[in-house]
Amino acid sequence: MITLESSLICTCVRAPLRARRAWPAALLLLHALAASAVDAEWPMASGDYANTRYSTLADIDTSNVGTLAEAFAFDTGVERGQEAAPIVVGGTLYLLTAWPNVLYALDLTRPGAAVKWKFEPHPAPRAQGEACCDVVTRGIAYADGTVFMVTLDGQAIAVDAATGAERWRTPLADVAHGETVTMAPLVVKDRMLVGNSGGEMGVRGWLTALDTHTGAVAWRAYSTGPDRDVLINHSRYAPFYPTDRGTDLGVATWPPEAWKRGGGGAWGFVSYDPALDLLYYGTANPGPWNPEQRAGDNKWTSGVFARRPGDGTAAWFYQWSPHDRHDYDGINEMMLLDLDWQGARREVLVHPDRNGYVYVLDRKNGEVLAADPFVTVNTSTGVDLKTGRLQYDPGKDPRAGLTIRNVCPAAPGAKDWQPSAYSPRTGLLYLPHQHLCHDAQTYTTSYIAGTPFLGVTAQMNGMAGTSRGAFTAWDPLARRARWTLPEVFPVWSGALATAGDLVFYGTLDGWFKAVDARSGKPLWQQQTGSGIIGQPMAYRGPDGREYVAIMSGVGGWAGAVSSGCLDRRDGTAALGFVGAMKDLPMPEVKTGVLHVYALP
């Protein structure tokens, strides 16, 4: 009802709904073959535990990608930004929309991938006003015949994959205090991992593990507060750097009480190393944005935790941005790679952070092996590899009442949540990212439950002398970029690398693109009618062919100007992102649509 009402009133999207394209004839040639190989499936948002977003499928390659065509499309009817990755398991594609978080199961064995079932969780409408950056979700996970999803208002739900029946439901978040959940849960063994969002609302961040069978909370690890809340057991906790050692640093690195509203959500992708049996996830920015209201290092925000999935205890921690000054959440994905690092095989964790550096960490102990800027950075001068500490430029430090100009990278960082991909064939990381700077004025803000807790008015702009968006291939061994494709708008979609030496990504102006993974040469692109902020994935259909799928539907923080019908005369709208997005076109297609492509 509400959706209908808003669709009637939000008239800034003028384009009428277009009729969906006819199903391509290719689909009629459907094979009845049931896919059985593992590479056929994509059971979690990131594809695998290592977060590489690498598909071993190679049917579509650099030679034939030019002929790629839409196999089918599915209109979800949901208007807001679609950041979620579809998953495919057992001939069924599962898809979670943005709020109101409708879960669809599409039967890939049937022509046109007909809807098998639809699950509507009816989350609280109130949550829409608490989500900082559009009412997105980033995906779902599958395990043991169950699809695991979380609604925007923080209800973890297990849904029977076959029937769409609800198995259990556990409310995790307190919407009235600004907590929401937007992340894609991860299932590891019998643990479903969920982290909260709300660093802009003064929440206290956490990662929660639920029992996949019952939905009972197994453990919850907070990102601030005393060690018992953070699940730090000093006998089993061994961070590499001394600054991360000490008792109750989650309290001691904050002014009194501030940690209770200190942010540090866990809304990014969680990685898992089965061999070490460790989870890796980043913690979000501390709250409020105004750093003067939270003197100290603000542990354990804007950093990375390695935790044991069984009891949640921390193994180590490293802080990307101690006492974060510019909303540099540390939640970007951790790609778990085994690299020949300076002559030796090392198990590393590669992480392109919002603060502008690609970090290479030893994922056994958290030692920083390298941290190199992949964009122009003026908020810091580098990372001291001896202490592991980011060296801020005090000239860009926010000060109450002052406007600090040309802060680069801006609040969304050099790269926000949009997940990168890694191809073992090229050895390159593929980073969808942006070149934005902001002007920010800091002021003292009040904590009022359920309202934004910011203390910063920001306004973003494109970085001078470069494009606002970029898609960069980064060589982690050479520690430099191989090639960069400029894009007009921030590349807010995820990346996908395939064994066909292709990389896929989408743009905010609606193009879905394939480029040569080695040279970066653009090979194919298709207009989807609405900006793409989703995560591309590839699967082998029941017919044995390789498909590439992407959700289109503009929105997210970057696209909120269009999805939220924001007023472009105010550059500080959407926490300042509108300043950089005034020319973002309105989408032709208003609702979120799943596009699936295949060779003809």
Partner: protein, 336 residues
């Protein structure tokens, strides 16, 4: 100097009992200023006296004439060496005296700037329309605390006040301790001082800052280091939970009503920053930046009709029921 004899006649409070005058120093900064003041006053008085005597002499010795008397232009023809000498001596003496004052002023300036601030207590002072916020800084951030309108200082220890303004220009002036310094939006300033004598001093905003400029005062409590440490420890403690049902009811009104939209009570969900921190309100002697005595009745009137007592204050008037006022007052009185 123990002050003007006039002060007694004027019923000003004794030094250290909420005095606010520049003529009695309780710290080295104010004392150095006074050490410049009294000689300057003496010199200036002497100059005034000299000129009046000269005028009297001139009037007494000059001739008299009537309106119709003709003017005398003989001075155009005759040089008047005596007058030239007298005027030259007068001007030379004035110049010497002024140069002396310039030198004395510069020397005092240097003295004021050279206050030894090693190990100084740092307090971040933020001026708001129309109250003072004090954040006691500490290298250990967990030991920081915030209070309002009542500045406690340890006797004998230098204090560095870091000054910021939240809205318009204000000026911090505690005459018994030091001269004033403006708090200017966009410019952080510091004011260094030391209290050498225990007591309570009154300070006030000295730059016009809007309708309630007159009621933007502060109380400075200089106390022995032990007492100061004990006070600071009390301030660091979060508010204790109220015990009586009435106070508990008041706390609920406080947290769920309008109070928590602007005020902080540490240890509770009330954490807003636009009004004075009330964690230890009951320990403060006065309300509303020294406007009112912190008594039960005045507190009750203040929370329901602040604009009647301090017109223009940003705290809104509220139509509380009598029982709500009593409950709120009871709660606020537990915030010791």
């Amino acid at each position: 100097m123990s002050g003007l004899p006039l002060a007694a006649f004027l019923d000003t409070p004794p030094l250290g009992e909420l005095s606010q005058d520049a003529l009695r120093a309780a710290g080295p900064q104010a004392a150095a200023t006074l050490a410049l003041w009294w000689p300057t006053l003496a010199l200036c008085s002497a100059v005034l006296l000299g000129i009046l005597i000269a005028l009297g002499y001139a009037l007494a010795t000059s001739g008299r004439a009537v309106r119709s008397a003709p003017g005398d232009l003989s001075s155009l023809a005759n040089r008047e060496p005596g007058l030239v000498r007298a005027v030259s001596v007068g001007v030379a003496l004035s110049t010497v005296a002024l140069l002396g004052l310039v030198a004395a002023s510069a020397a005092t300036d240097r003295k004021l700037a050279s206050l030894d601030t090693a190990g100084a207590l740092q307090v971040h002072v933020i001026a708001h329309q129309w109250w003072w916020e004090f954040e006691y800084l500490d290298a250990d951030v967990t030991r920081r605390f915030v209070t309002a309108n009542e500045l406690h200082l340890p006797v004998g220890r230098a204090v560095e006040l870091v000054l910021d303004a939240d809205d318009v220009i204000h000026s911090l002036w505690i005459p018994n301790l030091a001269g004033k310094r403006d708090l200017i939006p966009g410019h952080t300033q510091t004011l260094r001082l030391r209290a050498d004598r225990a007591g309570v001093y009154r300070g006030q905003c000295a730059e016009y800052c809007g309708y309630q400029h007159a009621n933007m005062a502060l109380r400075v409590v200089a106390e022995e280091p032990g007492a100061f440490t004990a006070w600071a420890d009390r301030m660091r403690a979060p508010a204790a939970a109220p015990a009586t049902p009435l106070a508990q009811q008041g706390r609920a009104i406080f947290e769920n009503g309008t109070c928590a939209m602007c005020h902080t009570v540490s240890g509770t969900p009330a954490a807003a920053k636009h009004a004075p921190d009330l964690t230890h309100l009951a320990s403060r002697r006065r309300l509303a930046a020294e406007t009112l005595e912190n008594t039960h009745d005045l507190l009750a009137r203040w929370i329901s009709r602040p604009n009647a007592l301090k017109p223009g204050v940003y705290m809104p008037d509220q139509a509380y029921s009598e029982s709500d006022v009593q409950a709120l007052t009871a709660y606020l009185e537990t915030l010791k």
